[in-house]
Amino acid sequence: MQRDLVSFPLSPAVRVKLVSAGFQSAEELLEAKPSELSKEVGISKEEALETLQIVRRKCLTNKPRNDSTSDTSCRKCTALDLLEQEHTQGFIVTFCSALDNILGGGVPLMKTTEICGAPGVGKTQLCMQLAVDVQIPECFGGVAGEAVFIDTEGSFMVERVVDLATACIQHLQLIAGTHMDEEHEKALEDFTLENILSHIYYFRCHDYTELLAQVYLLPDLLSDHSKVRLVIVDGIAFPFRHDLDDLSLRTRLLNGLAQQMISLANHHRLAQVGNIVQITKPERMHSTVSNHTSGI
């Protein structure tokens, strides 16, 4: 393995010492034992062990390049595979038929959807509706998942969600009435107001630091709650707009956030823990004021 040592995620101090001791590529490193390495290079035994583990792990995943069937971390697949996947993936209905038609069935899973618009047009309402709709049981055409709602603006209203959930239950009861199927009846027993509300996990972030922190912790959260199928960030740009004067920092942080969320969706798809849709909701990122004064 002729890979250069500089390309490994080692700590800078250790890397400098390895290079000055004469190690250039990973191959040379793999032959050494931890205690020998620590004596020769001048690092502690723990650091030497950690270094060797990092290098070994990276080398092993690179080896079976020709053996693609067992390599689950490989991201290549054919367009046909993707097509099959897209056909079978579920959608989250919005209960607005025009919108569902345009979107091709509803909000798609495994994709990131952005909702933007002028203030007051109904973005938060749509997000709250989706948080309820993601929980619709499979026999009614839903995805039977849970939702994470990250709120940065504070416009989330519990009473409104109660209204939406109640209306959804009534709607499904009407459908079940026409089908008169045991399966539908049984699914409806679990689809109660209490269950719906208990499966929406709510986080209130007051500024961009809390938002950044929450997104860093999302992978752990998603592994704990494996049934989550929807992550909503209501107002992803809002905390960055008034608190940050440094435009380059703002751009970097926002882009970093977007990247993290995309990688989150992909990673969980690979691990087959859950298919996740993320809805980010940036309102206008530039600071022109809309027509009425409440353009916050």
């Binding site: 995620p9 080692l10 700590s11 800078p12 101090a13 250790v14 950690e50 990092i54 709602f149 603006e153 504070g154 416009s155 209203m157 519990v158 009473e159 969600v161 109660v162 209490e194 509300l197 208990s198 499966h199 929406i200 996990y201 709510y202 986080f203 209130r204 972030c205 007051h206 500024d207 630091t209 809390e210 950044l212 922190a213 929450q214 860093y216 912790l217 752990d220 959260l221 707009r241 008034h242 608190d243 940050l244 004067d245 440094d246 920092l249 970097r252 942080l253 970093g256 600071s287 022109t288 004021v289 009425h292 004064t293 409440s294 353009g295 916050i296």
Partner: protein, 295 residues
């Protein structure tokens, strides 16, 4: 003589100025951002690590989370995995608590916190699904002369009423920027809307002592007043905060014809709004901002 208490601009509350970083010019408010201003020392990091970070001017959680992983590696000398664990530790210290919506709902009904403050105007209450929402910011806009200040004065009376009459039985903070508040009018409204309740002079006096009026004439003063509100709210058991009106100070100071002013104006509005929202949620009180719309 019936008087509502007047208070001119009080002394400025010092903002927590520590942690001023050259990277971003952010004012640390007393109310919002408590978690992000948390010093890294209190997060549980080793003393040595904290010292190393503070040498690079990274003192609070906010400074730390604004760095990219590569920068953290350079500053701390840790490997990529170590950096990742460190990021998780710091994030856990300042991330918000998780709540389920069901948990929020049961908590509210257990605390008997009303979700809405009825305006006693049945058509309006119906349109608003119960009244003015507690725990969030409500904006009242309209052309001049349509009755916004009168509405605000009436809501002040309603907030001081006992709960069995539909009020919140608490004090009111009224931030007045136009000197439009009239104590005489307050008494007049109280007497004519609730003649049976306000039949004794003492009750009228009591209501008027519960309305705390602050006269602020510039944007800066309004912002300072909002920043210092938290202590007032706790000590005086304030249930409603009214700002009358935010549009007038903004229009006075920011001429929208000039290019740069738009950004400053928005920044001020957004800062004020986020502070008010934090207060509203924290103390579950309705806050009202009045705006004028000039066509």
């Amino acid at each position: 003589m019936y008087t509502a208490r007047w208070r001119n601009t009080g002394e400025r509350k010092s903002d927590s100025g520590e942690g001023f970083v050259e990277r971003s010019q952010v004012l640390f408010f007393a109310g919002s951002g408590i978690m992000s201003n948390k010093k890294l020392r209190r997060v549980g990091l080793s003393q040595e690590l904290c010292d190393r970070l503070s040498r690079h001017q990274i003192v609070t959680c906010r400074d730390f989370l604004c760095l990219s992983p590569l920068e953290v590696m350079k500053v701390t000398g840790l490997s990529y995995r170590g950096v990742h664990e460190l990021l998780c530790t710091v994030s856990r210290a300042c991330a918000p608590q998780m709540q389920t919506v069901y948990g929020i709902k049961t908590q509210r009904s257990a605390n008997h916190l009303p979700a809405f403050l009825s305006t006693t105007l049945s058509a309006l209450d119906e349109a608003l699904h119960g009244g003015v929402a507690c725990g969030s910011l409500t904006e009242i806009t309209g052309p001049p002369g349509c009755g916004k200040t009168q509405f605000c004065i009436m809501m002040s009376v309603l907030a001081t009423l006992p709960t069995n009459m539909g009020g919140l039985e608490g004090a009111v903070v009224y931030i007045d920027t136009e000197s439009a508040f009239s104590a005489e009018r307050l008494i007049e409204i109280a007497e004519s809307r609730f003649p049976r309740y306000f039949n004794i002079k003492e009750k009228l006096l009591l209501t008027s002592t519960k309305v705390h009026v602050f006269r602020e004439l510039t944007c800066e003063e309004v912002l300072q007043r909002i920043e210092s509100l938290e202590e007032e709210i706790i000590s005086k058991k304030v249930k409603v905060v009214i700002i009358d009106s935010i549009a007038s100070v903004v229009r006075k100071e920011f001429d929208t014809q000039l290019q740069g002013n738009m950004r400053e104006r928005n920044k001020f509005l957004a800062k004020g709004a986020s502070l008010l929202k934090y207060l509203a949620e924290e103390f579950s009180i309705p806050t009202r901002r009045k705006e004028h719309l000039y066509l």
